[in-house]
């Protein structure tokens, strides 16, 4: 029995140490973790426009261009792999300590059906207490059974395990992880060739999450524009059922919906860093087009000097 106690004690110490190591790895190599902490901890800000969505939005909209062309103060809150539900909680968390934005632009990705209701545990543990409680209640109401991962996520080693994946990805492809952030916008100069053909996939959207998000924004009196960012030609060709999803998005978006996914040939091959992600060249071009389209929704008249630091 004494030996069992020694074994268990050493094991617990090891789990704790590795947990801390993985937390450190997450902050260094996980592109989402440091930004998530920044976004979750935003306080006393008064952004005119905030952008939300997933990595497509995070890498596709440069606030520097938007600010310069519209004279606004914007922030890109989109997170890589961010689900609609996660974005709703992000917005709730943001509104606790910051002023509501004049315009919210949501970059809708039409392939979110399976992960529309998910929330990353590393984010959850950083949220305000009230948001954490909301998530707990939501899980209780929506899940028939409590899955094992809910309990395991209490342990940092398990919660931050994805950090190792990011660290290894960095080792395998250090250039591919070459990026910096500017007001939440992930900017990278890397170019990756888009394959000419991709495996077919079905478009989809988690309607409940989407509806809840829009209802919440509406209840807070936030004007919300939903947009579809450009995807590469081959990605669009491989997507089936997109029209039906767009119809759902349009129906629920009270303040408007714009798709920028129809004239994608204007984005040259050196502007892409994946099948639907822009590098800085693509993002700057798209942001200018977006700014133009936003004039009808946001017009403050104040102009700022272009700042691409």
């Amino acid at each position: 029995m004494k030996r069992l106690l020694i074994f268990t004690s050493i094991l617990l110490i090891l789990i704790f140490i590795f947990g801390e190591v993985f937390r450190g790895l997450a902050l260094k190599f996980d592109p989402n973790e440091p930004k998530a902490i920044d976004v979750i901890n935003l306080k006393n800000n008064d952004y005119d426009i905030i952008f939300m969505g997933n990595s497509v939005t995070q890498q596709g909209i440069n606030p520097a261009i938007i600010d310069s062309l519209l004279g606004a103060n914007s922030y890109n809150m989109a997170m890589g792999g961010g689900s609609i539900y996660e974005n709703e909680l992000m917005l709730r968390n943001y509104l606790i300590s910051n002023k509501k934005p004049k315009l919210l632009v949501y970059g809708m990705f039409v392939n979110e059906v399976s992960w529309g209701g998910s929330l990353r545990p590393t984010f959850r543990y950083n949220f305000d207490k009230s948001i954490r409680k909301r998530y707990k209640d939501h899980k209780k109401n929506t899940s028939k059974t409590r899955d094992l991962t809910t309990h395991l996520n209490i342990i940092p080693l398990y919660r931050y395990r994805v950090a190792l994946e990011h660290a290894l990805k960095f080792i395998i492809d250090p250039k591919g992880r070459n990026y910096t952030y500017y007001k939440g916008f992930l900017r990278t100069k890397v170019t990756k060739k888009v394959p000419e053909t991709l495996l077919k996939h079905q478009a989809g959207i988690n309607e409940d999450s989407y509806r809840n998000f829009m209802d919440f924004a509406k209840s807070k009196g936030i004007k919300t524009l939903v947009i579809e960012l450009p995807n590469s030609k081959s990605f669009n060709e491989a997507t089936t059922g997109r029209d039906a999803v767009l119809q759902i998005i349009k129906t629920e978006s009270d303040d408007g919906f714009i798709s920028f996914n129809d004239n994608v040939e204007q984005y040259t091959p050196e502007m892409w860093v994946g099948v639907n992600h822009f590098n800085i060249k693509g993002a700057d071009k798209f942001s200018a087009i977006l700014a133009d389209a936003l004039r009808g929704y946001y017009n403050k008249g104040r102009r700022k000097k272009l700042n691409l630091k």
Partner: protein, 404 residues
């Protein structure tokens, strides 16, 4: 049956027992299969039959506990076992929870007497049981479930992949099913050991076998010995003429295939093993081909086993044939389209670790010089537990053998 003296009465009671046990299995597991096959065979003759099928859920583990009760009845009929008068012990034997859903299929002669023994929780049982559970968990959630990502992707869209991708998916499936099933067995044996019960060994590094015959001596041992004792030997085994001997072998494997599932793919899977066993048996008898190069023998065995797994994994026989055809398309491209390089690295690393730790205990040097140090043993188990946290897949994955 135990009390009956007359052979005819004993036979009648055995027949009733077989009828009830196999009837339940047949009703839940095979009724739809035979009805559908019957209707399909008539549709080939342009005769459309309208026979309704059943909509019942297959009781979990039915194939396993039915075989346990069958072996109990047959052993009593053969007077190899005294019937128990303790109903609680009998039903505890049939429904013993650690191995209820996926084995090992225990014999009453091994497990039943253990219910009457006094069991004390000892540090030794606790240590052995925990080690087996951790090792089984590692094989299941770190190896099998990670490999499943690749396998499901390729077998989910078989027409989209060719060449090396199909070969890798099949080899991965071979290890996925091994780690999934043997992982479950280890957890079951370990859990039983915590309670003071000793269950039989179910796997002994089967993929290192030098022949299909040897493979079946190391793979799902509780099932293969069951079929040997209750199907193959009653049919006459090898103590009959050559033709009947081969017939017995093939019938045993076909039935074994059908036991796995009500689908022709499992029958073909059993058939491949039956034919390979039969050819090996004839070769042993007549000595036509003599291979004594272990690596060639291993390669031959592993190839046959992998090809048979294609039928086991595919949705239907024609899909399996198409998949095998795709395997021979000479192309090595496309692996990067199946999973991200990092995930492939994790899969290969977990598989490599598992193989390493399965192989090294076979070396005397390792057992006597290295494993004797407690620090090394403990480090090994710490490593496994940390790997469980980091690489274990904890959602949406069932044990494959739960469906049987």
């Amino acid at each position: 049956m135990g009390k009956a003296e007359k052979q005819s009465r004993r036979k009648l009671l055995l027949a009733i027992s077989l009828f009830v046990n196999l009837g339940m299995l047949g009703f839940f597991k095979y009724y739809n299969f035979f009805v559908e096959s019957f209707v399909e065979s008539f549709s080939l003759l342009s005769i459309n039959l309208n026979v309704s099928t059943l909509r019942v859920i297959l009781p979990v583990g039915i194939s396993f506990y039915t075989f346990q009760t069958l072996s109990y009845s047959i052993d009593i009929f053969r007077r190899k076992l005294e019937p128990t008068k303790d109903a609680v012990a009998f039903f505890a034997f049939v429904s013993f929870f650690p191995q209820l859903v996926a084995g090992p299929i225990e014999r009453a002669s091994n497990l039943l007497p253990q219910f009457f023994e006094k069991r004390i929780m000892t540090a030794r049982n606790l240590a052995i049981g925990s080690r087996l559970i951790v090792w089984g968990m590692f094989k299941k959630v770190c190896v099998a479930d990670n490999l499943a990502v690749f396998v499901n992707q390729v077998y989910g869209a078989p027409d989209q992949y060719t060449g090396l991708v199909c070969v890798v998916a099949t080899v991965f499936f071979a290890f996925q099913i091994y780690c999934d099933f043997s992982g479950y067995s280890d957890i079951a044996i370990g859990t039983a050991r915590l309670l003071g019960f000793r269950l039989m060994t179910n796997f002994r590094t089967p993929y290192f076998s030098q022949s299909i015959r040897e493979f079946w001596g190391r793979w799902h041992i509780s099932l293969s010995t069951w079929f040997r004792d209750y199907v193959y030997i009653p049919l006459g085994g090898s103590r009959v003429g050559v033709l009947k001997w081969q017939r017995n072998l093939i019938i045993t494997f076909l039935v074994s295939g059908l036991w796995h599932g009500a689908n022709w793919t499992f029958v073909v899977w059993g058939g491949i093993h039956g034919i390979a066993n039969s050819i090996e048996a004839l070769n042993r008898k007549y000595g036509v081909l003599k291979f004594n190069i272990p690596f060639i023998n291993f390669l031959y065995t592993f190839t046959i086993v992998c090809i048979s797994w294609v039928f086991f994994r595919a949705n239907n026989v024609s899909e399996a044939f198409a998949f095998i055809q795709n395997m021979f398309v000479p192309t090595i491209a496309g692996i990067q389209n199946v999973v991200a390089p990092y995930k492939l690295l994790v899969m290969v690393s977990m598989l490599g670790l598992m193989l390493f730790f399965e192989i090294v205990p076979h070396f005397n040097f390792f057992r006597k010089q290295i494993w004797k140090h407690r620090a090394i043993r403990w480090s090994f188990y710490y490593l496994l537990i940390i790997l469980l946290f980091v690489f274990g897949r904890t959602s949406d994955t069932q044990f494959i053998y739960f469906q049987f």
